[in-house]
Symmetry: C2
C-alpha cells in the first residue's frame, strides 16, 4: 500500500517529537507499506523567520519572503530523515522542487499546477522512506514559492493524488473530526467517517481541522483522507465519498464567530435594487453568506447580509455612495453575531432536522436572527453572546439523546 | 565593471550587520557596477543546525547533513536581498543550484565542477543585484551538497572565474593580509598586494584569512582577489599574479602551532630505509612537512618529520610494526613544537633572507630544531613555548627596522 503521511509543525517541533513521528513512519514502513512523509517547518521556525524579515522592513519582496520561509521545511525534512535513519530505516529528504512540485507564481499563496513525482517514485523503488518538504514548490522561472497557510495539507494530498496513493493520513494534535469542538463540548464524539462535502462545511464553519484547498483537491481526485493524532495511536476520522460511507445523518455542530453583519435600512422597494447591492459588494471581492430581505410598511426595503469579519469594512465602503444616492435611511455594520451550523450529507431529505435544531435553540431561549440552508448544512445567525450556549444546546439535541 | 563580493557569517549575523553589508553592496552598485554577492549562513545558524542534528544521532547521513546545512544560506540570502531592497535597489537571491553550481557528490566537502551562470547573467541584465548562497551546490543526482569549511570563498571565486569578473572582493573581519597576526604583533603592517603563491603559504601556515581552495582557484583562473573589512571602509589587500605587482620581498611572518613531530630513533643505516618510512606514512594519507635525517656514530639513522597534529596518531600507527621489525630504538611523537615561517615571492634569489631570519632567532635565544625552505618561504621548527617570541623577533627584523 502506498501511504502519504503529513505532519504539521507542532508534531516535529523538537527532538522528542521528531522521534515520535519517526516511530509512526517507520512502523508504517515496517508493515510493508511504501511511505511518503510530508512535513511542515518546525514549531516556531516560521514565526522566527518572519520576525527576522520584519526587522528589515515592513514591505519585503514576496519572492524573497518565500525564499526565506522555504528554509523552514528544509530544516525539518533533513532532521526527520535523520530521525528515521536513527531508527534503522533508510530515508531520503526532498525539497518541494526535488519532489516535483510545480506551482504558479503567486508568492505566499501559490497554487500547485502539478506534481512530477518521478524522483519520489525512484526513491520508493529503492525501498526508501521519502520525506518531502510541504508548503513549497517552484514556479516556471525556477523560483521558490510557498503555498500559503495550510499548504502542507495540500502538498500531501497533491502527492497522494498524483501517485494514486491508497491513503493520505493527516496527523494533527486532535484525534480526528468531532461532532463539535471537544474543548468546549465535553460530550463531543469523534466521527469515524465523514464526506468531503461535510468536511468542507465544517472547515469553513470554523472547525479548522483540515485546510479547505486540500479537502477540495482530495474530493476532486478521490484521495481517501484520514485525520488522526500524532500523539495517540488510535484510529482517526476517514474523509471519503458518500458512496463509501455508512450513513449517519448529522456529522457535527460548528460555530463561526468571525462573522460581520451589514444592514442596509430603508432602500426604495424597486426591482433590481438587491441585485445592485450585491453586485457592488461582489465587485469589492467580498463573499456574501446569509441574506435577509424584508419589506417595511412604509414601502421601503431592508437588506441584511453577513460577510467574513475581515471584509466588513470593504463591504461598507463599497455601498456608501450607493446608499446616499438611493436615500437609504441607514448603513450599519456590526460583528456582534455568530453563525452556528449543523452539517450532514442528505439532511435536505429530512425535514425534521431543521425543526429539531430550532426547537433546541428556542428551548435555550436563543433568538434566531437569520437562517441559511444548503444540501448538507443548516446555519443560523444568533447573538455572539449566545454562541457557546447554542452549540451546546444543538449538540445535546442531536448527539446526547437517545432518539 | 563586474564585481563579486563575498561576506561571511559574522558579517551578516544580525539586522544591523545585514544593513551594513547592504550599504556596501548598494554603494558598489550605484557606482555603476554589476554586483554579485555571495553570502554564508548567519553567525550561529550553522552551529545551531549542527546541534539539532546531534540530538538525533552521532552519525547522521552526510546527504541529510548537507540538506540541513544548506538551509542556513537560504535564510541569509533572502534576508540580505530584503536588506538591499530596503535601501531601494533591486535584488534577487539565488540558491546554489539556481546560481548554477554543479559539484561532485562528496557530501560535506564537495568540489565545484562548474558554474552555469546563465541565471546570474539574466538577473544582472535586468539591472538587479544578485545575492547567491555560498557554500552549496547540486550534484548530478540533483541532491544538495555543501563545499565544506571556507566554501563560500570558493563559491565567490568560482562565480568570478566563470563570469570573468573584474574583481572578487572577500570581506572579512580584518582589513586585509598583514605581515603577521595583528592581534599578536601590534606593529604588523597591512600589505597592499600579495601573490597567489604567497597567500597560499600564509594560509597554510595558519594566517587563515582566505580559504586555500579559493586562492588556488583564483590563481588557476587568474581572478583578481581583494581581502578587505566589512566594517571599516578602507582598501584591503589585493591578491594577484607576480607580474602585476610592485616588488616587496617579504610579505609576512606566520606561525603554525598545530604541528606534530614524529621521531624514529635508531633505524639501521640502510639504503632505502627513509623511502620505506615515508611510503608507509603516505599510505596512511598523512602529509609530511619538514624532514630531518641524521646518522649517529653507532651506524644507526634517526628520522624526524613533522605532520599536521590531527594526523599524528595515524602516522605513529603506520610505523609501529615497521619500527619493531627493523629494531628501531624508539618511536616518539610530540606536539611541543611550532612552525614559524617567512613568506615572500622570489626570496630564493636573496640569500640574506635566511641568514637574517636565523640571526633574529639566535638573538632572541631561540633554538632552531628543523629548517625547511621553498621558493617563497623559509620555515623553522622551534619549541612551542618560543613561538610567539619567535614571530615577534622575526617580524621586528624584517618589518620594524629601517634597513
Amino acid at each position: 500500500m502506498l501511504v502519504v503521511q503529513k505532519f504539521g509543525g507542532s508534531s516535529v517541533r523538537d527532538t522528542e517529537r521528531l522521534l515520535n513521528v519517526a516511530r509512526i513512519v517507520t512502523d508504517t514502513y515496517k508493515q510493508g507499506n511504501e511511505v511518503v512523509v510530508v512535513v511542515s517547518a518546525q514549531g516556531d521556525t516560521t514565526d522566527d523567520l518572519i520576525a527576522k524579515a520584519k526587522e528589515l522592513g515592513k514591505k519585503n519582496s514576496k519572492r524573497e519572503m518565500d525564499m526565506l520561509m522555504a528554509a523552514g521545511e528544509q530544516i525539518s525534512i533533513a532532521l526527520l530523515a535523520m530521525a528515521i535513519e536513527s531508527l534503522g530505516c533508510p530515508a531520503t529528504s526532498l525539497l518541494g522542487w526535488q519532489a516535483g512540485f510545480v506551482t504558479n507564481s503567486t508568492y505566499g499563496a501559490a497554487r500547485i499546477k502539478r506534481v512530477n513525482a518521478e524522483r519520489i517514485r525512484t526513491e520508493l523503488d529503492k525501498n526508501r522512506i521519502v520525506v518531502v518538504a510541504g508548503f513549497q514548490g517552484l514556479n516556471r522561472n525556477e523560483d521558490v514559492t510557498t503555498l500559503g497557510r495550510g499548504g502542507s495539507d495540500t502538498s500531501a494530498v497533491a502527492i497522494a493524488a498524483s501517485m494514486h496513493a491508497d491513503l493520505c493520513q493527516i496527523y494533527t494534535d486532535v484525534e480526528g473530526v468531532y461532532t463539535a469542538d471537544p474543548r468546549k463540548i465535553p460530550n463531543a464524539r469523534k466521527l469515524s467517517e465523514i464526506t468531503y462535502g461535510e468536511m468542507l462545511e465544517l472547515a469553513s464553519l470554523g472547525a479548522q481541522v483540515l485546510n479547505n484547498r486540500s479537502v477540495e483537491m482530495a474530493q476532486k481526485y478521490n484521495v481517501e483522507l484520514e485525520v488522526l493524532s500524532s500523539l495517540n495511536r488510535v484510529p482517526g476520522t476517514r474523509v471519503m465519498e458518500v458512496a463509501k460511507m455508512e450513513k449517519m445523518l448529522i456529522k457535527g455542530v460548528a460555530k463561526d464567530t468571525s462573522v460581520g453583519r451589514v444592514m442596509v435600512v430603508g432602500l426604495p422597494d424597486e426591482p433590481g435594487i438587491a441585485f445592485k447591492v450585491f453586485s457592488l459588494v461582489a465587485r469589492a471581492h467580498v463573499n456574501v453568506d446569509i441574506i435577509l430581505q424584508s419589506v417595511g410598511r412604509d414601502g421601503t426595503k431592508d437588506i441584511t447580509f453577513t460577510v467574513p469579519a475581515e471584509d466588513g469594512a470593504d463591504a461598507v465602503e463599497a455601498l456608501k455612495d450607493f446608499c446616499e444616492r438611493m436615500g437609504a435611511k441607514d448603513l450599519r455594520y456590526d460583528t456582534e453575531c455568530a453563525k452556528v451550523s449543523i452539517v450532514g450529507a442528505g439532511m435536505e431529505t429530512h425535514e425534521g432536522v431543521a425543526a429539531k435544531m430550532f426547537e433546541a435553540l428556542a428551548d435555550a431561549d436563543i433568538n434566531i436572527e437569520m437562517i441559511s440552508t444548503s444540501e448538507i448544512k443548516i446555519s443560523v445567525l444568533i447573538a455572539l453572546a449566545d454562541a457557546d450556549r447554542a452549540v451546546a444546546a444543538v449538540h445535546k439535541a442531536f448527539f446526547e439523546t437517545n432518539d
